[in-house]
């Protein structure tokens, strides 16, 4: 494929990946390039507006969304290494603007070309095998927005099945919320704790050595709980495994 015809992908890196785990962003770039995309990263991007949206602050949400639309509408595709931020743009941005308005059309157009990373690799770029190797027993947590708003379930499992040496062990209730929920985990810490405790137990009982998911919010939450309980289970974003970037320390760990 010539350089010219490569699809131009705008990477929406998400605030959590940007601040907490840039290696997920780098793995995402690597995967997109492997799939034949040209990746660009608008430097003025910040947040997708979920905190404002989920707190009922419609005015701020619209303002932030307007900026994101302007910044990303130039690309062939927008790819996000997170189900919940992708769903924000793909499902909820259009809801913010009145039908028939100019920004509604622009939000609709952006929504049409925005994808969560793994579903983009599978469904759009038809990538079947990332050529990665990871000889571990893993389990996969379906994050709620990815699963229910974007219908992502088969895609991560299909790509993981091609990772050399990887064995996927499903946990019980893989589709049940981990209790993160953005501001929920600090507004209702005790309920959130009950939910993540149950999730951590399901992860442990799966017998897997590694937990994977596609959303850093869920991963930070479950990692924080497992590690508070003294668990040895390794926790990673799925992009790192698919990109073969597993030499760097896992979430909450150092190489020291």
């Amino acid at each position: 494929m010539s350089e010219k015809r490569k699809p131009r992908v705008g990477l929406f890196v998400t605030c959590l990946v940007d601040t907490f785990r840039p290696s997920v962003g780098l793995a995402t770039v690597k995967l997109l390039e492997l799939a034949g995309c040209k990746v660009e990263v608008p430097e003025k991007q910040t947040c997708c507006a979920q905190p404002a949206f989920n707190s009922g602050d419609s005015k701020s949400t619209r303002k932030i969304a307007t900026n994101v639309i302007k910044m990303f509408e130039q690309y062939d595709y927008v790819v996000v290494p997170s189900g919940s931020c992708a769903a924000m743009i793909k499902i909820h941005y259009p809801e913010l603007f009145t039908e028939g308005s100019g920004f509604r059309t622009r939000a609709d157009e952006l929504a049409d070309k925005t994808y969560e990373l793994v579903s983009f690799l599978s469904d759009v770029m038809k990538l079947k095998d990332t050529g990665a190797q990871f000889g571990r027993k893993v389990t996969y947590h379906d994050s709620c927005s990815g699963l229910r708003e974007l219908k992502i379930h088969k895609q991560p499992r299909a790509l993981l099945s091609k990772v050399d040496g990887l064995h996927l062990e499903e946990m019980a209730d893989a589709d049940v919320c981990c209790g993160f929920g953005g501001t929920f985990c600090v507004k209702y810490p005790d309920i959130s704790n009950d939910m993540v405790t149950k999730k951590a137990a399901n992860v442990t009982n799966s017998g897997a050595e590694v937990l994977l998911a596609g959303d850093l919010g869920c991963l930070l939450n479950i990692a924080g709980k497992l590690q508070r309980e003294g668990s040895e289970i390794e926790i990673r974003h799925i992009a790192e495994v698919l990109a073969g970037e597993t030499h760097i320390p896992a979430i909450g760990e150092t190489d020291q």
């Binding site: 940007d18 601040t19 989920n54 009922g56 701020s60 929920g181 953005g182 929920f184 009950d194 926790i235």
Partner: protein, 473 residues
Amino acid sequence: MESTSRKFSSNAREALGDSQLQRALSNVPSGFVNKRAKAAAALPEFEDLRDKGRDIKNHVLEHLDLYLEAYERRVIEAGGHVHWAASAADAQRIITEICQAHGAKTVTKGKSMISEEAGINAALERAGITPIETDLGEYIVQMRGETPSHLIAPAVHLNKDQIEADFRRVHDHLPKDRVLEEPASLVREAREVLRSKYLAADIGITGANFLIAETGTSVIVTNEGNGDLTQNLPKVHIALASIEKIVPTLEDASTLIRLLARSATGQEISTYTTFSTGPRRLGDLDGPNEYHVVLLDNGRSDMIGTEFQDMLRCIRCGACLNHCPVYQAVGGHAYGWVYSGPMGSVLTPSLIGVDEAGHLPNASTFCGRCEEVCPMRIPLPKMMRHWREREFEKHLTAKSIRSGLKVWNWFVARPELYHRVSGLAAKFIKARAGKRGRVSNLPFAGGWTKHRDLPSPQGKTFQAIWKERQKNG
């Protein structure tokens, strides 16, 4: 019923610390969730039925006035009486007056959430009339002086040994050495105790799952047959229902009945589905001499035309409660009023005000499991968000959230400053984490670190790394 929804947070904390409650709630997922999944999977047209159900109710809500009037005409033609109650107080007055007109001393009751909402038992007791709940779960809850904690399983918050203790306490006329260990023996005992009450009752009150406009029929579904005895044995039957229970035709009722039991308990159909049209006719072997319907509005007509109209499609199957991880964690009583779980989080603020019940639509991660299983495809998370919007507009949102959000939005609108500050935050937390790779406590993050560690950032932000990379080619 007095609301404690304002205290949701402390209600929830108490519930989480209640080991009996937690033991009882642990049965919810395996019981309801798996059974519903099996029933839905076994019916190829289940998803189409959900579309049909949604369309039927949407149609009714667009023409509610017409269908209510048509229904009223049919009930009167069949010899029944229709009473319109704008508020809970009206419903209490109307029902009390009917009871008093017949000199009623005891009233048997079928399971009815609308009766809970309207506070009928308390009103009857104030008038010196004894209400007797005949649904086993309701009977248990009434004997404990509690309210139902679930739409269709009122006593789901209790364990068998607690119920056994209650039976021994209340049924003190029975031999003390009787064996009550098996659920079946509890059911048998309740049935024997209740049998005489059915026969002695002056009036039977039931709710209605559906009201059929073309025939003037009220429909109830039960698994115990208690509803039939409640409405057929006494001389007078009062059906209390909220106005959105209307469906146009018998065919429509059938469609919704196919959805209801599968979504609720995973049954193809409830054990008893009973259609009542008017009082006993000449030649009928049984049935009441008088048949009354009390139609309660209680704030529902105000929901029509608002972003909460879709909530009126609800058929009270309880699937959203069963699948909700928040409900599974705290149970129904923590929500502080009649309705709980996701449907309660949307409906309660409509009925008692968002000032009172503002916590409920906030206590959700928007995980979306409720909407996924709702037979009527009610967009519950979306409506909870609409409540949050109302709260934000009315300045009811918690101050800490509001000011935190203000700061966040301010930074988000200033990318350069945002990136400088997020870079500093990453470095700060990483330094604090040191060699451990995570922190166990962090200023301003107590909500997080009380229960879990915070994994450390890697140090540099993605934007900083990307910039360097672009510079170095």
